[in-house]
Symmetry: C2
Subunit: 321 residues, 2 copies
């Protein structure tokens, strides 16, 4: 986790921009302009629309990355949004990750993979790349990924091993931000704990052999901003586990809700916002754009403003406590 923590210190900003484009979040003029381009270049007619969206997502992401690269430490593309466009979308995903890394950003791939050991080892290529005949290839360009721990340690170890070998990190789901998560995660155990606390204990244990210079292991935890008291208790319970905190902004979490998830030095957590930043342009939409470039410029200006506001919001909440 050292590279992420160093990047947070450098920007003085414990926040990550979620790059989760959807058809509704990308100005339609961008898709329209890309549609004209792909109609020239892509043969199969049924793939035009997918390719148009995929290229539009990539352009949209590039504009946002350029706008925030000097003020945020990291971005978190949500792979589901790209997978929804099939293979063309996944090309846009990897190109987004590669572009963000080229701008010095730490890339957290939100992929929530998880399977039995031999299959988890295949998914771990997200971090390990492919050991090719002619050398090593990094296909995914991710510095960290999220995983689902439901299969237990043999489904998690391959990710930790790959992270250790390639200086990457992993975040396991512990307490997610969504409304129905309590149905499973808050189930009461015979031991008196809730299930998410049991999983928190396992995640803490699994990370113990990879603690870095800042005192945090390579295995972090996802803890939703929508559970402030639980998050604060987990912070005390998991002293070596870095938190990825989704749910700030559009999902309802505030800076006051997340401060308890940081350690006493103001480290130990990074807070994600997706729609609040990449969709900020929608709150001040001009009547019309002249071109895709106009729209991208507007998206970029609004995203930077929102990212600065989020940084300032977190900084003052952390200073005040």
């Amino acid at each position: 986790m050292d590279r992420l923590i160093a990047a947070i210190e450098q920007t003085q900003n414990p926040s990550v921009v979620g790059l989760d484009p959807t058809p509704a979040l990308v100005p339609s003029i961008i898709v329209d302009e890309m549609r004209e381009e792909v109609e020239q270049e892509v043969d199969a007619e049924q793939e035009h629309e997918l390719a148009a969206y995929a290229i539009a997502y990539l352009e949209f992401n590039r504009a946002i990355i350029d706008a925030v690269a000097d003020i945020v430490p990291a971005v978190k593309p949500q792979i589901a949004m790209y997978e929804a466009l099939g293979a063309a979308g996944l090309d846009a995903y990897t190109m987004t990750c590669e572009y963000a890394q080229s701008k010095g950003l730490y890339v957290l791939g939100d992929i929530k993979r998880g399977d039995i050991g031999s299959t988890a080892a295949a998914y771990a290529a997200h971090l390990a790349g492919f050991g090719a005949h002619s050398g090593h290839v990094d296909m995914w360009h991710e510095d960290a990924i999220t995983i689902n721990p439901y299969l237990g340690s043999d489904g998690v170890e391959p990710f930790i091993n790959a992270a250790n070998a390639h200086d990457r990190d992993v975040f396991a789901l512990v307490r997610t931000s969504n409304p129905s998560s309590a149905q499973i995660q808050e189930v009461e155990l015979a031991s008196g704990m809730h299930l998410y606390e049991h999983i928190a204990g396992l995640v803490g244990e699994w990370g113990n052999s990879s603690i870095g210079e800042y005192g945090y292991s390579r295995l972090g935890a996802v803890v939703g901003a929508t559970h402030p008291e639980q998050g604060q208790a987990l912070r005390a319970r998991m002293p070596h586990t870095f938190f990825l905190v989704p749910g700030y902004g559009a999902q309802g979490g505030t800076a006051a809700d997340v401060v308890g998830m940081f350690d006493t030095q103001g480290s130990g957590a990074i807070v994600n916002s997706s729609r609040g930043i990449i969709g900020a342009w929608k709150k001040q939409e001009p009547t019309s754009y002249m071109s895709a470039q106009d729209a991208l410029d507007h998206v970029a200006v609004c995203a930077r403003k929102a990212a600065c506001a989020m940084r300032d919001d977190l900084q003052s909440a952390l200073a005040e406590r």
Copy 2:
């Protein structure tokens, strides 16, 4: 689940062939021959190796599909194996699914996705396709997918909705076949149940609104062959839930272990074997192959023989009980 059950009745074979290629399971002469081909056609040198494996996986799968299409109802490609090759691998995955469907097979995409509601809705494009400007596109060619239920109902509903709308099915992880799964799935709850039983209850409930002609809902459950008693108890507890049973063969499960997961009519479950069928050629490897086609022919013959043996094994175990 009606289409799957009809296909099982037609073939009299409740088994599914796992298409999980790895570098070790594909004869190297196939990769070598594809490497020569891609060196002519793919510009970027660092992508040669990934492309060679991706095409080799596709050829390997096609040979197996051709060899078993008349005797098995379904195939289950494990997306992780393809994702390990990046975007080129995912092309091989979708082309494998499309080819299997063209041969009349039911395609069960083993993708184990799961996320919060809005993100699960994006993943549900695996079943729903993309509603394009110029019509509807199916990018993934899957008849069913597996999902991870850890996020609760709002992460599952988008998949059930897509399955209902597009005549597809979903299988949620309940009790997985791997050794460490007990760390979480067998945790004892305050209610006296184990966690997997609690999740089984939720899965049964979530499926109740989509029960088909054969009495099974569109939401099935993954129950590992390595837990025969638990599987038998779940069969009684979940009368409308169809089971996908991994772990037969290479992972240690036998026909006797899985019979309890079928209903009294011999329906209610489908058993997966991957390595036992697609890797059957390794047990009788000839000293050398003359060409990739020779190797593919050998893989195909061995796979068909192993698939027949598995069918006969399951049929007699079901007849004997």
